[in-house]
């Protein structure tokens, strides 16, 4: 099967709110007004109701009661609203178990969230490529969305064949997936995001997160690659053979990484995740 065929059969395709995807689509514009955000969200009454519930939850600690989407956007701003909407729209889908990868319920969501926070963190690192934090966060959150689709075609014999190539030939997980299935979860994920008409920068970050594009500079894939490594090193690495991941020395050079700097980043990431958990809580 091709990546496109696998992506188009994915159950997750039907489960995600079009309003949430339109909101991500706004990232492609250099500027947009709060009214545009409100207009997009008002098309989805269920999402709006959930968003207002989160805005009024004690964990957010807002002093005033939020009674409308207009008020929520004004109080919290686009980036925070986007985080909440993504959590509400994708949380359930990404929290589902994936037996094909031996990933239990909630594990992929938790991992995706840590990668998103790490990607946002690395955007602020001056040595890295520059893009806006919300785009980096979204690409991090969606980097493994292809696994949701791959899970449906990873039969037991396919899993055995992929794992055998990792164990006996030292292949990375994406190399083994390509040898067995003819495609890999990064390519399938990019196809899904293209079907969802998400911005090209996010599609690139997801498509190449295991084979980052360093030149021309400014692409998201090196950021997502490093963010994925940092998430693993901070204790978020779900599924079988999760460390069968080839790190890229060009990314290490682009971010001027040393062992000590990397360890410092892992510490910073844990602290950032602890701070961010309450801001993205969906209950």
């Amino acid at each position: 099967m091709t990546a496109k065929e696998i992506a188009s059969k994915a159950v997750i395709l039907a489960a995600v709110s079009p309003a949430a995807l339109k909101l991500v689509g706004l990232l492609e514009q250099s500027e947009f007004a709060n009214e545009e955000i409100v207009a997009v969200l008002k098309h989805d009454a269920v999402l709006t109701a959930k968003l207002l519930r989160v805005c009024n939850s004690p964990s957010l600690g807002l002093a005033e009661t939020v009674g409308s989407i207009d008020q929520a956007v004004l109080l919290l701003g686009y980036q925070q609203i986007l985080r909440m909407v993504l959590a509400l729209a994708l949380g359930d889908a990404l929290a589902a178990p994936m037996p094909g990868y031996a990933v239990e319920a909630e594990e992929l969501w938790n991992h995706s969230f840590v990668v998103a926070v790490a990607a946002e963190m690395m955007i602020h690192d001056s040595a890295g490529p520059v893009t806006d934090p919300a785009t980096a966060f979204t690409a991090g959150l969606l980097h493994d969305v292809g696994k949701m689709a791959m899970n449906q075609v990873l039969t037991v014999p396919c899993q055995a064949a992929v794992r055998c190539r990792i164990a006996e030939h030292g292949a990375s997980r994406v190399e083994a997936e390509r040898e067995v299935l003819g495609t890999d979860h990064a390519e399938v994920g990019a196809c899904l995001l293209t079907l969802w008409r998400l911005p090209e920068a996010i599609v690139e970050g997801v498509a190449n997160h295991h084979a980052p594009v360093i030149e021309p500079r400014g692409r998201l894939s090196p950021v997502v690659h490093l963010a994925n490594c940092l998430a693993h090193l901070s204790g978020s690495a779900p599924g079988w053979e999760s460390y069968a991941l080839k790190t890229d020395r060009r990314v290490a050079a682009a971010f001027e990484l040393t062992p000590e700097k990397l360890e410092g980043l892992v510490l910073r990431l844990r602290e950032s995740c602890e701070r961010s958990q309450s801001l993205i809580a969906t209950e």
Partner: protein
């Protein structure tokens, strides 16, 4: 008629979860200590069979020199500060130094020929050096590789089991 004790159900085990950058020690033989998702992190297990005292430590980074202030309030984050705390706690629970069984698991590694990303290997080196300096050694280990691991210590028997996602558990 079945023997009377066939219908006696053993009490449930008390599961004590050890989080990331955390440590739990116990002298309760009815307890099981478990730490999940050890990737490049290390799970260090100490058990003293006579007193049935044991502990599990889940450390993330090799050396506290990168952030000494952090190490003061989160010593279990680092090998060099977490391991001494684990030993002291086990001794305070009455363990006999000469009878300690020390095991370790974790330290998974990326496919990284340059080694910059391999905190797992640096964690292992830090632990081995620390133990050697104190005249100690690991009785058993399951270190490196590309899998994350869940480690359990049965406080009644001292048995340590390891479970990698998608694989059968085994004893260390």
């Amino acid at each position: 008629m079945p023997p009377l004790n066939a219908s006696v159900i053993p009490p449930p085990r008390r599961i004590l979860v050890v989080g990331v950058a955390d440590m739990v020690a116990s002298n309760d033989p009815g307890a099981e200590l478990v730490t999940y998702s050890l990737g490049s992190c290390l799970g260090i297990v100490i058990y003293e069979p006579e007193k049935k005292v044991g502990g599990v430590l889940h450390v993330m980074l090799p050396d506290s020199k990168i952030d000494p202030a952090k190490a003061l309030h989160a010593p279990f984050m680092f090998v060099d500060t977490g391991v001494p705390h684990l030993f002291h706690t086990i001794y305070n629970l009455g363990a006999n130094r000469g009878k300690l069984i020390i095991k370790a698991a974790g330290g998974a590694q990326f496919l990284d020929p340059d080694g910059i990303f391999n905190i797992g290997q640096r964690n292992q080196n830090s632990l081995i050096q620390l133990l050697e300096r104190n005249g100690l050694r690991l009785q058993a280990q399951d270190l490196g590789g590309v899998s994350s691991r869940t480690v359990r210590l049965d406080m009644l028997t001292g048995k340590v089991s390891i479970h990698c996602p998608g694989s059968q558990p085994y004893y260390l």
